[in-house]
Symmetry: C2
Amino acid sequence: MKSHIKTLPASVYLDHIQLTDGFWNQKQTLIRNRTIPAIYHQLDKTGRLASWDLNPDRQEPKRHKVIEMFWDSDTGKWLEAVGYSLHTHPDAELEKLADELISRMVKAQQPDGYLNTYFTVLEKDMRWGNLRDFHELYNAGHLIEGAVAYYKATGKRDVLDLLARYADLINERYGPNEGQERGYPGHPEIEMALVKLYEATGEERYLDLAKFFVDERGQQEPHFFDQEAIRRGEDPDDYWAQTYRYCQSHAPLREQTEPTGHAVRAMYLYAAVTDLAHETGDESLAQVAKTLWQDLVAHQMYLTGGLGPARANEGFTFEYDLPNETGYTETCAAIALVFWAHRMFHLDPDGRYIDVLERSLYNSVLSGISQQGDEYFYSNPLSSYPNVDPHDHFSGITSAEYYRRKEWLLCPCCPPNLARLVSSIGSYFYSTQDDNRIYVHLYNTGTADIPLGEKSVKIDQTANYPWDGDVRLSVSVDAATSFELALRIPGWCRNYSVSLNGEAYDGQPEAGYIVISREWQSGDTIALTLDMPVERIGANPHIREDAGQVALQRGPLVYCLEEVDNGPQLANIVLKADAALEATVDEDLFGGVPVIKGKAVRIEPSTWPGGLYQPQSLVDYKRSEIQLKAIPYYLWANREPGEMRVWIRED
Amino acid sequence: MKSHIKTLPASVYLDHIQLTDGFWNQKQTLIRNRTIPAIYHQLDKTGRLASWDLNPDRQEPKRHKVIEMFWDSDTGKWLEAVGYSLHTHPDAELEKLADELISRMVKAQQPDGYLNTYFTVLEKDMRWGNLRDFHELYNAGHLIEGAVAYYKATGKRDVLDLLARYADLINERYGPNEGQERGYPGHPEIEMALVKLYEATGEERYLDLAKFFVDERGQQEPHFFDQEAIRRGEDPDDYWAQTYRYCQSHAPLREQTEPTGHAVRAMYLYAAVTDLAHETGDESLAQVAKTLWQDLVAHQMYLTGGLGPARANEGFTFEYDLPNETGYTETCAAIALVFWAHRMFHLDPDGRYIDVLERSLYNSVLSGISQQGDEYFYSNPLSSYPNVDPHDHFSGITSAEYYRRKEWLLCPCCPPNLARLVSSIGSYFYSTQDDNRIYVHLYNTGTADIPLGEKSVKIDQTANYPWDGDVRLSVSVDAATSFELALRIPGWCRNYSVSLNGEAYDGQPEAGYIVISREWQSGDTIALTLDMPVERIGANPHIREDAGQVALQRGPLVYCLEEVDNGPQLANIVLKADAALEATVDEDLFGGVPVIKGKAVRIEPSTWPGGLYQPQSLVDYKRSEIQLKAIPYYLWANREPGEMRVWIRED
């Protein structure tokens, strides 16, 4: 570690944290008991596991070349989720399953270190032939991340060594030196992974390779992907995605100022940029990350933290373009935003990054997985109208997967991504800085043993977050110890109180955190109360899709209307500007969830004269008072299928 | 002609009509002077004319196989437009140009009668190989329509004979008999053309072939397009459009009850179905046409008469799915709806068909062409937000052609389609029935010599329609003659008056027409006054995209807001429910056009606290009174680029 890093915080890894009860304990239990086994079952059923035996007969019912190229990444993410889960919940049987898989992976490695089942078996000639489209380095990255997580959980080096050998082969091939190729991945991912591999092994060459990939991006003239295409005998102008903005290589990375193209690629890249700025102290790189971030949150993010309005490029379009019903907002993009936001905090310690992390996590991320833990959304629009003829998949608008989660997806990047994020959520709770400060970012019931320099600080949290804003923390130390405890005051919270050992504590937040500096003793307790009223949220007046509408939020949770509670034609429901809105727990909803209720009107013709359009003067519009009921957005589509809507008309 | 036809009306062909002044005269002048030459220039420049010399080197700067397959159809439509134009405005130079082209076409015909430049030169092996996708019969259809129009205008048989020989080859190959192939076109068009060829030649075999194509559609098991695909060595499941609903062959035609798939294909098919029901008296076929029509107008048509919300299939999705900004609404689909509506009237004489014809014609059709006559829209959405990075064509939303007309289109089906419709608009003005009735459908200044049995009736019209609703008609006959004159009272008109020779005429409309039955004398005059107030139009409460919004219409014209008149962020403009709206002529707008003005408010924050979302309680929303100005929708995008919006929020 370089010296400047001392001034930046570092996150506390999940092996120091146990989430013992409440929201995240439930989610982690679900992931452990339902999601990880369900994904393993799918990896097996679809041939992904068998592919490690380098069997060429790995056709699914129908070959999808483009999908099979990504198969290895699914294994990598599953292994990563398993690693995190074993940390907090050792499970010999699960570990055995993973070990068996790893032994198959070890046998699949080629003599030179190469490790990719698709190009080893099915398209040998295309090895390293198309970094732009073929996800070869992306697969490597996910395998590396899986290996690091599994190694850190179990201490078993075989999988780490396996991937280090592969990383060495990649490092030999790509780089700035004579005889090396100046390539970089079309789908960034390996950059973050290489930083993790560097941290796990201490080998600086992996960090340098990540730097190379980032710095080389969009540099060459002619463009590297053009050179590659010509080598393949293709016309570079035939690039299916039409623009290198799609893969963020339209300009050198350091000249880029706004998120663009495929949202997951963008987030993975910017997260790696942030990692590298953090690790190397490169101020200009840090500035690039901050500029990109600022543009994202100022212009291109949904209220739910979802990213990427467009299906065509699975990504960004232009500022303030945030359509609700057609919003693509891939689950993986929201997950990747969590990754990036977390890294941004550690580069630039400020609670506003964690505000975005929370926004994405509690809304667009969790929307991706069913309450049962075994069905998934790829896309998380803010409005859904499911009246689609299921026989017309070429309707041009949508298919069932837009309003019902599925047990598996043709491109199943999201399910194991959800599993690895939720399994590792402990790592997002605390950070330390200068051996003198502990940041508390997230609130939930659990315990943490936090190393702070030579000392160790134990923090017990009790919180029913996000359902209410009462948080209790108690500190245990071996001996009285001076340090700063920085409690995050979420951006959504406008009234809060802090008490220390029963007495009110007055302090203004610094960059989103109340910092309590004192000599701590075991038994010190803090009560933090975050007022959590129902908020009506208005959108920036440039977002044309949300004009005249309001969204409901309580705490970090964005709410939505569903047809099952409010009837069909949600577009005809109008919230009165002065109507009281109350949160009350609905005991019948998923074991008891606060819902928002209030008076609204439904404006509809008493009778419609027929046809599609009528002079208004011929129509008698009736305003019927109704009781509106909103549920947390992430819970939508867990009951009867029907319409859903986040933005509600307001009069 | 079969006897039953006597009970159905027939349209009066354009050779009996001259539009001498006013709206349509101006449009036809524009088409003659600007559009037809501009299209010829493009046909020449892109190699379409040279392709008739069977030169294999007909690459545009970049080959677009899929587009080049349709080249012949562009020639066909141009020739058709020329034919119509020569009828009303003889032009020796233009005729010479057409004759030269025809002589090249004649040389291109193969010994067996085959006439398709693409498959003759570039993909010989694929002749008749893919009716599903390759538009071979579609090209034939457009050439036939062009030949018939040119023949009727000039009496020159060479082009008619040329296409009749080709039709004979097609008729030999396709049919129900032993040794024939039971195929039909993926893109309907030839069916309508064959009916015209039958009418021009009197040869019943062309009518029978059209019937065969219609009746065979979706009949076979396995599906004909599956059989074809297998013959090509393809897996039918790989069909790129995913469903035969795309090309209306998912079920036998007579079992289809709702418009589906690609909108232009659907309209051309249903128009042919209506032709055949009219020609053959097939009652069940007539019922199919009526059922499809009823579903279209009840569930799937935009206020502008635009059809097909989805870009993916260039067509229909599901009922009430009529998004504005992403609406595809191809110009050709609106044109094809005019064709179908016109035919529906003659099958089932009722003014409601002409109401739809007018709605489409004055709005979605004319939106397709610039005021200068040489730039075209492919797509005619009801809302446009042009703030797109022009470098990001893969934004997933839109490209410049969505908000600026272009002088030519990669797939230029629309420009010559506009030219042929406007050139032939005279044919849509009058119909006769039972040698005893003259229908007047459309109003504009011009003269008509209408054959009615043995007699001839001359009608002089004076009308400044659609700008005002005052229409004067005078009748001239050789001798006093009894017949019925049926004057259409448009569906949009709720107050009107008729006077005959200066005296009020009282009569209730029958199926949308005031029928004046009398013995007419030369000099009889009729004054029809159609009140044309500004109407606020409301949408069916199932159309979620239009909820809480209103559209403005005056006469047949739908109006829209443009940024150049109303400033940006049109979504923030709210029309007051009780605001007076007035039409006044704006003399500076395209030589003087009635615009709609009224008071509205712009609701925007006095200052926005920053970011994308804010608690409403932190925002001070200001309501500024503004003067709203709406212009006819079809005129949009003829001034400075900017936002456009048909549906306006209303409080």
